[in-house]
């Protein structure tokens, strides 16, 4: 068993944990964190696949790098939206 095999087991587990957490948790910030966790799991699977050959395969690595940048930007937008939703919910419930 190599690191790659372990990562190929842990990766799907983390994806599922993140996705189920994202769908079932109520609080918006925690849902965004769960989605980021799930994306970490996806990257783990891709990088484990990239590490299988003798030399690491650069194409999945490039895909993952793209994914990290996009996740950072989209997390920023999601947090801004979550903050507005929470503020509006607070107002509408008269707090």
């Amino acid at each position: 068993m190599t690191v790659v095999d372990l990562a190929l087991i842990a990766g799907p587990a983390i994806v599922v944990i993140g996705l189920v957490g994202h769908l079932l948790v109520g609080d918006l910030l925690r849902r965004i964190v769960a989605l980021n966790v799930a994306s970490g799991g996806v990257m783990m699977v891709l990088l484990a696949i990239a590490a299988r050959g003798e030399a690491p395969d650069p194409v999945p690595q490039a895909l993952v790098l793209t994914g990290i940048v996009i996740m950072a930007a989209v997390t920023g937008v999601a947090l801004a939206l979550a903050r507005r939703v929470d503020a509006v919910t607070d107002e509408s419930e008269g707090r």
């Binding site: 690191v3 996705l19 918006l28 996009i70 996740m71 930007a73 929470d86």
Partner: protein, 304 residues
Amino acid sequence: MSLEIGVFDGLLLAGVVLSAVVAVLVPRRTSAVAVFLVFGLLLALLWARLDAPDIALAEAVLGGGVTGALLVDALASKQAEVPRRRSWALATGIIAGIIAFLGMGWVVSRLSEPSGQLPLLVDDHIGGSGAEHPVTAVLLNFRSFDTLLEIAVVMTAVFAATAVSDRSWTRTLSASGELRIIAVVLLPVVSLLAVWMLVAGTTRPGGAFQAGAMVGAGLVIAHLTGTRRTSTRGPWGDALIVLGLVVFILLAFSTAVGGAGWLVLGESWASTAILAVEAVLAVSIGVGLARIFLANRREPGEAR
């Protein structure tokens, strides 16, 4: 790096899975964000272990730095009341999750042996590609169309974040003396690291995205310590953010019309083109990430 399992690898993967579980399950927001930061750090270590040093750099600076800053800033708002999920929803979710995990495990177990074709193709063509590091060559030459779309997505995200904000965040914070000293010490180091990572991307792990994240971090530090003209607000900020996509599209059009084809870089000028595009992308991404953070900061006002 040999891929055999050692004690360290077992501990690392156990830590990753454990921190993922805790980050999702723990009820308080602050704890969830703190454990998620630990998860990001352990992921960066795991990427280094899996022979992906570029990704480890990017995860450390973007996952830990930028995403961490965004999440910690979002903690400043109050936690709203949320309805409890009903138990049948929880049970369905968990059962669906287990089925999904087993399904993914089955797919992963049927992966064929690595054929090695793509790495061989990359090795064959890397000579005239303009970059010696394979990941950079893939990102900016062989798959440069994906990078063009990526910068378009980032630009859209930046403008979405600007639209959600109240579009009038403070231009200059007033900062105490200690913060100015911090700026004087940190900003030259950050700038040097950004430029170095940009230039090093041609021959070793590094590149435009890591450099861009450093530029973004530098701009945020500069703004928060009271430097003028670093708020990324206004037409100059917009121009710098759009510049990356515009330059990339201009390059694509010029190669399509006057060159060998859409985004086909000729061997003689490929390395200059790659470095130039990377520099512009780094600036664009940096200003964009800084704006995403600064436009939606809580309590714009005096810094201590």
